[in-house]
């Protein structure tokens, strides 16, 4: 009886060893992936904000419709007088806003920069502070038309 019973602890020890090995493997993986997920979630959060702001700028005219007459009282900011057509007057109204106010109205939790560039990269306007030595930054570009020429509206969101 004693000899027969010896087989069971051997099986049990082997099973336990494999289980512990897999548990340790899981814990290492969990730690690894959770760190990557946190970093990824932060990037996705920034990307979501950049996509939303870029879409708002090229697709809407802002609210209220005459927000350019009192930019500080604007509820939302848009640069388009019609889909994908940038209104230079709205652009200059946005440029006139102090950075903190623009950030608040746009609903950005991090730092931002909006750049209007020609298709070959010539800068037409810059709103906000461009990323410089930032730890993490995302940029979303949307094509639009301004004064009859194609331009890129680039929204940059970053962390210092």
């Amino acid at each position: 009886m004693a000899k027969k019973g010896q087989g069971v602890p051997i099986d049990f020890i082997m099973g336990l060893f494999i289980f512990l090995f897999m548990l340790a493997y899981f814990l290492v993986l969990w730690d690894n992936y959770s760190q990557r997920y946190v970093a990824k979630a932060s990037t996705i959060d920034m990307e979501t904000a950049a996509i939303g702001i870029a879409d708002q700028l090229v697709s809407t005219g802002g609210s209220p419709g005459n927000w350019t007459s009192a930019p500080l009282a604007a509820q939302s900011i848009g640069l388009a007088w019609r889909q994908n057509e940038i209104d230079p007057y709205r652009l200059s109204a946005l440029s006139s806003l102090p950075y903190a106010n623009a950030k608040k109205i746009l609903g950005v939790g991090r730092e931002f920069a909006i750049k209007i560039e020609t298709l070959d990269g010539g800068r037409l306007a810059t709103i906000g502070n461009e990323a410089y030595n930032s730890s993490k930054a995302v940029e979303v570009a949307r094509a639009a038309v301004m004064n009859g020429s194609a331009v890129n509206v680039k929204v940059q969101i970053y962390e210092n």
């Binding site: 993986l29 996509i51 879409d55 994908n84 639009a144």
Partner: protein, 159 residues
């Protein structure tokens, strides 16, 4: 060790049903293998999810729609000039994105639409890649009235 082996052999002979005992061991092994596969599959799934960009498709589709709008607003889509359309397309689309445009032009007469022309621009649509689509309808104006109706369809992909 030899005594242990003999003991095991005896216990198998006592029952006289060695196949059934082997079958029990096979179930254990199959279950373990199944669990191992599950763990590996979960690991692979997690790693794939951690590296993919959830907005990749959205960005490509938006780039295509924007390009169509910009080309339409500038009158390039309706020009019928292949060189101009392709140059504008390359300049407007972000680098690393390929596109093919098909423009069908119709004329409305006697209560029906008849096709006038069909033009193709851009690169050939590749096989084995994720292809996204965008479309835009526009009207050609001549002498202050609608002369023809066009529908532009775009196939867009990441190179």
């Amino acid at each position: 060790m030899e005594a242990q082996l003999m003991s095991r052999c005896r216990s198998m002979k006592i029952s006289g049903r060695t196949m059934q005992r082997g079958f029990v061991f096979s179930i254990d092994a199959t279950l373990s293998a199944f669990l191992l596969m599950l763990v590996l599959a979960t690991t692979v799934l997690l790693s794939v999810q951690a590296t993919g960009d959830p907005y990749e498709k959205l960005q490509v589709v938006r780039a295509g729609k924007d390009a169509l709008v910009v080309l339409d607003r500038q009158g390039i889509l309706s020009s019928g000039n292949a060189t101009m359309v392709e140059a504008a397309l390359n300049a407007t689309l972000p680098k690393g994105i390929g596109a093919h445009i098909s423009i069908s032009t119709y004329q409305y007469a006697n209560g029906t639409f008849g096709i006038l022309d069909m033009d193709e621009y851009g690169e050939s649509v590749p096989e084995g890649k994720s292809i996204y689509g965008a479309s835009r309808n526009f009207v050609g104006i001549g002498n202050g009235q609608a002369a023809n109706y066009s529908s532009a369809r775009m196939w867009i992909w990441q190179k």
